[in-house]
């Protein structure tokens, strides 16, 4: 361990914290961040006045989609050709317009931040730059020359390396092969030079300050280690443009510090780094310029030096923050769900929790920390090795979704396309799917009853659709999610488990889903919500549990929680203070 893995208490400048912290002291890049500061206009609970109404982005660059170059006052931009420029790119997936105006410009030697809320279109822009998606319109310039990337190989050849948000490794292959796949060093006769490949991998890891065995099969690596492998892969490309989509999400403070050193080295060598992060103080620490996106549109591009975190948040959000007033919070009633010492070997360990009627319990943590697996075990999809699940005083049979449903549990899974919906079936069939026993007569489903049932829920949830008999795949993501919710609400569940209920949903619908969850809680439904979005966790959760690597590491009441505390518990820093 070169760097502090065994000293979790060691906080240092640059420790990742919550987005929105540090609203004061706008400064040049590389400034140190101090201790926990008051959160910015995030709904941290007791300060509704902090939510500033937005009147257009501040600062020198107030025009959306400013022409490249014009928004940068300093000398280099006027003369230097951008390494890469994406101009007014648009990309739709079916009815969903993921990116309407994707505009970004990277200068050699700069670290450029791309920020925006989830669903703002950042990841789609990344995939356009990676050659994965071809934009419907707009242009991509490399060194001022228009290019078309037909696939990821083209992007690599053009010198663009991408670190994806979710690691994309080959589990059966060694770490070294993962890094050098398709570009393995060769010896005479075009054979792979395994020894050199391992040596070069070891060098990359030395540069990153981590110790991993290059020959190890990558199956079973922790999320953080997988992310390290991805970073090493991008470094090995010697790319001129390096896109990092939330590279720090799973990393510890020491690893983040290492990564930033590497970013500085890359910049010094003239490469451009596109840095995507939700942690704004990281953005201020490492980047020189920033581009903000909102609802698929470019909002502003500017030097960071003149901006504050507040300015960025306002540009990202572009509206009043959602609030959940104290009056909307129901008083928790009887215990509905009790989970005791639930363990599934190698996946999660000794999970105990309870959810009361009218209470929304948010389960936070990093992707891969075992949250979804716990939910799946509670609902009986996966087995567990020890512990028990008690629903309204009755112990549930293991591994039986039927028993869970009969006991009054509804489950809205993380992946609605694969697990939540039958995409080729109609809207009404999907809504009715979990309530068929009530809609049939003599073993046959009554189509009229099904239609009435679905139409009723469509109105209640404000579902936007063409016809109830259209395939559900035609709806937008947010409306698809409403269909999944309707499917379970139709059964009047006592406990609703929702896994990432607003992933990939536009902001307006997201707020609707939040209000809906609050209303259900008021009606006495117990809700267990898994979410990776800290603002959502803080906004919706009455109680917040944090998981890390398969264990519950912290519990916060609604008032005592902050993004920083949750993040610390989720990444294992400050593990003593938590809980």
């Amino acid at each position: 361990m070169t760097a502090g893995g065994d000293a979790p208490g060691g906080r240092e400048p640059g420790v990742p914290g919550p987005a929105g912290a540090q609203p004061d002291a706008p400064g040049p890049a590389g400034r140190a961040t101090g201790g926990p500061a008051a959160a910015g206009p995030r709904p941290a609970g007791n300060d509704p006045g902090a939510a500033a109404p937005v009147t257009g982005p501040p600062g020198p660059a107030s025009q959306p989609a400013t022409p490249p170059g014009a928004d940068v006052g300093t000398s280099p931009a006027g003369t230097v050709t951008p390494v890469l420029a994406l101009e007014h790119a648009a990309k739709s997936f079916g009815a969903v317009r993921a990116v309407v105006d994707g505009t970004i410009e990277l200068l050699p030697g700069e670290a450029h931040a791309l920020v925006g809320e989830n669903g703002a279109g950042k990841s789609t822009v990344v995939k356009i730059l990676a050659g994965v998606h071809q934009p419907d319109s707009g242009s991509l310039l490399i060194d001022g020359q228009p290019v078309t990337l037909h696939g990821p190989a083209d992007a690599q050849d053009a010198g663009i390396a991408v670190i994806y948000q979710e690691p994309t490794l080959f589990p059966d292959l060694s770490i070294a092969e993962n890094i050098f796949m398709g570009r393995q060093p060769l010896v005479a006769g075009r054979r792979i030079d395994r020894r050199r490949m391992h040596a070069e991998t070891a060098q990359l890891f030395t540069r990153l300050g981590v110790r991993l065995d290059p020959g190890r099969i990558s199956r079973g690596l922790s999320i953080a280690d997988q992310q390290i492998v991805e970073i090493a892969k991008a470094l090995s490309l010697d790319a001129r443009v390096i896109v990092m989509d939330e590279p720090t999400a799973a990393l510890s403070a020491a690893e983040v510090a290492r990564l930033f050193e590497v970013v500085r080295t890359l910049r010094a060598a003239g490469a451009a780094v596109l840095f995507i992060s939700h942690r704004l103080e990281e953005v201020f620490e490492i980047c020189q310029r920033v581009t903000v996106m909102r609802d698929g549109r470019h909002v502003l591009t500017s030097e960071l030096a003149g901006l504050t975190a507040d300015d960025l948040v306002r540009a990202m959000v572009g509206r009043q923050m959602e609030e959940r007033t104290a009056g909307e919070r129901a008083t928790p009633g009887d215990r509905v769900l009790l989970v005791e010492h639930l363990t599934r070997e190698g996946v999660f360990t000794d999970i105990s929790l309870e959810v009361r009627a009218g209470e929304i319990v948010a389960l936070a943590g990093l992707v891969g920390s075992g949250r979804s697996e716990v939910a799946r075990a509670v609902f009986g999809i996966d087995r567990y090795d020890a512990g028990r699940v008690v629903m309204r005083g009755r112990e549930l049979r293991r591994a039986s979704p039927t028993a869970a449903m009969a006991a009054g549990i509804g489950f809205v899974p993380e992946d609605r396309r694969q697990q939540g919906l039958v995409m080729d079936m109609s809207v009404q069939q999907n809504v009715a799917l979990a309530s068929l026993s009530r809609l049939r007569r003599g073993g046959l489903i009554r189509s009229a009853a099904e239609r009435a049932f679905a139409a009723d829920w469509a109105v209640r949830l404000n579902l936007k659709y063409g016809q109830l008999i259209d395939p559900v795949s035609r709806l937008s993501g947010g409306n698809q999610q409403k269909v999944v919710l309707a499917k379970w609400l139709g059964r009047s569940p006592a406990l609703l488990i929702v896994d990432e209920p607003t992933r990939g949903i536009d902001i307006a619908t997201k707020a609707e889903v939040h209000r809906l969850l609050a209303r259900l809680a008021q009606d006495g439904v117990a809700i267990l919500m898994i979410s990776s979005e800290l603002p959502e966790v803080l906004l919706v959760g009455d109680r917040i549990l944090v998981m890390r690597e398969g264990r519950l590491t912290a519990e916060f009441g609604h008032a005592g929680a902050s993004e920083e505390k949750i993040m610390a518990a989720a990444t294992g820093q400050l593990s003593e203070q938590a809980s």
Partner: protein, 350 residues
């Protein structure tokens, strides 16, 4: 690093004195070790019951019987490793066997290499057809090759009609191919062993070979890594088809009586051999050598049942049972390994 791997800091060429734990781990990691152990135990048990199992004649017979299967297993391995499957090889073999061997009737003097080229050509054409439909048509390979299994067999039946090639029409230079030996070992077995060695080496040490594993391990990641997925899959099917074509000619030389049923059901035997040999059925791992050993094991079972005087009626049931055992073992080992790795990376650090 929170998830330390302190004890795993060894370069690839680790010194031999690294301790017994390392050694067992290494053996554990070689997927073929299980199947080799099963083969050795099987041979030992059979020989102790019936020593004639290991006499020269029986061993020669065993090797010759294995060659066609082992060759087919090489092609199938390339396909399976990329998370695909080729079910058409039995039909390709049948068509190639009949068409190539029937050339000797009207053209008794035709050079043997030309006959092999014809068989190879038939196989390549079938393989390219399969590959194009999978790679470009994006149809699942199970569906495509299930269809071509019947289509090619249908063509075979049309071509053969009620005829058959009989041994008398085949020249000695052709029928002697499986019989020639050096130091008691059939030439053909040596040649096939070399071919399999080359194939295994290709899969292990060349970029395009490794990319097949990458595609099988995580197709989406392979695309993101810029691997030409379609082209690689096309090549795998083409090679598998070509090999099935060649195997058809060898089959004709070996059995000498060829009608429209030649090679029926071979695809499943070969896939069994591949899976028994440690190639993961969902792609990403396994080797051509393992698959060849799998073929050898299945042939040995066949031969042992003969030698032991057990009715060959038992053969299918027993090979099916062994297949189940092998797949279960494979699954158990990989689950254990995964859990062990996870525990190790979770246990350290904090």
């Amino acid at each position: 690093m929170t998830t330390a791997v302190t004890q795993r800091q060894e370069p690839a060429g680790a010194p031999p004195g690294a301790g017994s734990r390392r050694l067992t781990e290494r053996v554990f990691r070689i997927r073929e070790s299980g199947i080799i152990a099963v083969l050795l135990v099987f041979v030992a048990v059979t020989t102790s019951i019936q020593p004639s199992f290991l006499n020269e004649q029986n061993l020669q017979f065993l090797l010759i019987n294995t060659t066609v299967f082992a060759l087919l297993a090489l092609g199938e391995t390339m396909v399976v490793v990329s998370r695909n499957v080729d079910l058409s090889i039995g039909s390709v073999l049948g068509l190639s066997a009949y068409v190539s061997a029937s050339l000797f009737g009207p053209h008794p003097g035709i050079p043997v290499p030309v006959v092999f080229l014809v068989g190879l050509g038939i196989g390549l054409a079938c393989g390219i057809g399969n590959g194009l439909m999978v790679a470009i048509g994006r149809v699942p390979s199970l569906v495509v090759t299930l269809a071509t299994l019947y289509i090619i067999r249908g063509i075979d039946i049309l071509v053969v009609g009620g005829n058959e090639v009989v041994a008398q029409s085949l020249p000695n230079s052709f029928t002697n191919i499986p019989r020639a030996t050096v130091l008691g070992i059939p030439y053909l077995a040596i040649a096939i062993a070399v071919v399999i060695g080359v194939g295994a080496y290709y899969l292990r040490s060349f970029r395009s070979g490794r990319e097949l594993y990458a595609i099988g391990s995580n197709p989406e990641a392979a695309r993101l890594a810029g691997i030409p997925v379609g082209r690689r899959v096309l090549v795998a099917f083409t090679v598998s088809g070509g090999i099935a074509g060649l195997a058809g000619v060898l089959w004709a030389a070996q059995y000498q009586t060829i009608d429209s049923t030649a090679g029926t059901g071979y695809e499943l035997t070969v896939i069994s051999a591949v899976v028994v040999g440690g190639v993961a059925i969902f792609g990403g791992s396994g080797s051509a050598v393992g698959a060849a050993i799998g073929a050898l094991l299945l042939s040995s079972i066949n031969s042992a049942l003969n030698v032991l005087g057990i009715s060959s009626l038992w053969l299918e049931a027993i090979s099916g049972f062994l297949l189940l055992v092998a797949i279960t073992l494979d699954r158990v080992i990989s689950v254990r390994l995964q859990a062990a790795l996870r525990r190790r990376s979770a246990g350290v650090g904090t």
